[in-house]
Amino acid sequence: MNFFRRRQSRLQQEIEAHIAFEIEENLEVGMSPEEARHAATKKFGSPQLTVERSREIWGLVWLERLLQDLRYALRTLKKSPGYTATVILTLAVGLGATATILAVVDSVLLRPVAIPHPEQLVMVQGQNNTLLADSQIEDLSHQSRIFSAVSAYSTGLKPVVTPSSTRVSLFAKVTPDLFKALDVHALRGRLFRHADTSAPVVVLNYAFWHDWLHAKPGIVGSTIKIGGKEQTVIGILPQGVHFPFGLSAPFVYLPLSHQAKNHNFMNGNYAFVMARMEPGVTLPQARAAAESVLAHDYQGDGVSPKMLFMQSYKTYLVGNMQKPLFALLGGVLVLLLIACANVANLQIVRSLERMEEMHVRSALGASFARLLQQLITESVVVAFSGALLGAAISFAAIHAIKAAYEDAYARFQHLALHPVVFLTMALLALAVGILASLAPAFHVRRQTMASTVRQRTTPRTRLSSALVALQVALTCVLLVVCGLFVRTFVALQHVQLGFNPHHLTELVLLPQDTHKSPTFYRETDAELLHRFQALPGVQAAALQSSLPFSRYQFYMSSSTDVSTRPFRNGDSASYSIVSSNFVTASGIHLLQGRGFLPSDDGSKAIVVLVNQAFVHKFLTGHNPIGVNIKMHSDPGDKPSDKPLRGNMTIVGVVQNELQGGDLGAAFQPMVYLDYAQLPAKSGFLSVFTICSQFAIRSTLPQGVLRNEIRATLKRVAPDMAEMEIQPMEQGIASSLSQRRLALRLVSSFGAVALLLSAIGIYGVLAYAVTLRRKEIGIRMALGSSRTGVIHLVLRKAAWMVLFGVLPGMAGAWFAGRAVKSFLFGVTPLDPMTETAVALALLLVAALAASIPAWRAARVDPMEVLRTE
């Protein structure tokens, strides 16, 4: 820059010196000073031309022009701050939102696994979370041409005594082959060997060592107490290995013994399988091999080939996030399209306003290419400013998302704006800038060519109107989806819970030592229940293994025989274990029959309660009371596999109570068993070795109740670790939080889209009114009323909305079907939502059109005719 200026000023000095020499010579030959000067300048010719020609020879003219264009662009943009701010903000919002969602998608879906060749890892299990039997796993591992390693694992929670406190850690029991299959090596110490399978040894993950043991050196070789048992630490995993859940939380690995002796359903010889495929083997090939293995006769044990469920490890990790994220990505891309259409529109309108300038410049000899370069420069300046602001927005948004949802979603802790995402965004901004300026540039060219007839016609704004219609259509899609989400959210808040959550507190306890007999834990729970009921201010307390909204739900699904009909495939019910007073304590409505009675406990016959869904599925048209049910045995099943043999008699029917933590989930047939009635050998009792869940009804303030509960725990069962204690209503609120996040995002997209559309409609109409001033003036002079003129403008607005809404509704129908799985209590084609959206769009269009319409009505015909 400086160099160019210096070179030019030097040349100018040289020219001045040259003329001065000439003047001097002229004076010497006796001319008068004026004559001398005149003759000298005449002889030299035009200094400007000299400089121009020289600069052409210097080259780099393009760079100078670029700088000139940049300066010019900045100057003109500064002159219309409203336009500039609108375009930059539009782009910033569009690009910022896109970059944020792209970053989430990139972090969560595209780079989740820090393990060598993750594409070779497959997860093998049965459908509905059924597991492979030991012998099946053994046989799979012999398929060495397909699988290079086959490992088995099962997961759970155990209390761990660390130097600072007792905490609960996730654990996985794994076969020694697991780490071989993962292809990872120990950071310190060593990993499992085949000799370790029955030894009290443990491998820690990095987070456990770093966060809970403060990265103490020399930890390898020491012992820690896990689940009441001393275990020797033999190794620490490197950072970034988060098998199987992808969580970077503290995690311990224990050896999984193949020769477990007790053979019951909770801790038997079944496990999840993770295998590494040989290089070049595809998932379908692996699946075929696994099916052929499972086709052998395993006497009904494990998983049948038909029920085999295989997926890549990556899909397993990100599976449940994939759909909502892609839906969000779709939404944000629609928003980006709207933003682009808006920017293009604003540019078209602006370039039309600048026709005069363009004509003058074109008449002064500016080539089309030169004008194009100028327009593109201006667009790119605006686009990059928008991109920069967008990057700032997205940077802030990512930080906010990370801070808010890091704990809730496994992958969000790795969330960051990656350079690739940033680069993608910069390129997007550039593409938008150039594309947006091409349309106006060609408009200018057409107009320039037609400039001779320009005076007599009213220029059309057809392209702009089409872009507005497109915007309206896309906005319509976003708004309809947003409306469907709102209706889903409202419907979920009015779901019949089936119990009374008011004043109900849930408490989850975990025994620290899991090696005592199940009846011991049952007795502890009975004692605790008794003490809780006796607390002052506590109205009732109940035990329930499947407490709604608890994160530790246990119910078992089993195929079930119902005495009134023959067994059919798919006849299955869930079994939940409760205390006898659970009906009254939880406030569940008893619809038929009776609840559990203390006298039931002693009797030999087992009595059960079922829910409405059970009656609906199995007993429609029958009186359910007195019907016998039984866990179904397939031929070849060993009786010891079943947690409960013998008949159960239905004595009552209760209202459907919400199951799990999802308000939108359908009700499953449920059988409630009284824990006191269960025989000592029942497999169901092993639930109590894992955890105990209580529902406590009390009007006491939460803090007071907590203190009372904790005091009781300390006295009666100091060995129980408190996992969760919270009011049921809080559980309901947090279960809605994911939906609330989605709703917030989609509705903010919708609001921004609506705003952008309004700007688009306003821009086009305002410009149309400016262009048609003359026509409007003539119309009014010829007797058109002011209302007639207002109608003229409003009609144009109505057409644009109509042309947008019709395809928009069709698009919304597709979008509604795409997000169908997120909807509850509303169909994808919801007339009420669509009417509301159409009305909202019309209203916004009317508002946006009102200012141009008012301006049109104020056109003074006399003034217009005078300027003609």
Binding site: E14, H18, F21, K43, G45, T50, I57
Partner: protein, 116 residues
């Protein structure tokens, strides 16, 4: 006739000016006005459009590295910019001069009335 040769060879009319500049500078360094004066003496055609056209030519020769420029003081004590031939300039002048002479001779022969 104005076919530009890519190898930095000189266009005919422009070439005349460039060649005249180089010839002038063959006797030693000179500033712009002196060059113009000297060319005027040799040919009153070339600079008819004005002394100004000398400067783009100087810029072109500078770019081709046939001449260099330096600041100095003129004989009448004025600050001026002096130009001087480079080694490359010398060799190009030599080559071009012979070429130009051959060309002029050829034209002269064509224009001369043929002996009867």
């Amino acid at each position: 006739m104005s076919i530009r040769n890519p190898n930095s060879q000189l266009e005919l009319l422009q070439g005349t000016l460039d060649l005249l500049i180089l010839q002038t500078l063959a006797f030693g360094r000179a500033h712009g006005h002196a060059i113009a004066r000297s060319i005027e003496l040799k040919s009153d055609e070339v600079l008819r459009v004005g002394h100004g056209s000398l400067y783009p030519a100087l810029q072109r020769l500078l770019r081709l590295k046939l001449i260099t420029a330096e600041d100095g003081i003129s004989e009448n004590n004025r600050k001026a910019r002096f130009y001087r031939l480079t080694a490359k300039g010398h060799s190009v002048l030599h080559a071009e001069t012979s070429k130009w002479q051959r060309f002029s001779e050829a034209i002269a022969r064509v224009l001369q009335p043929l002996p009867e």
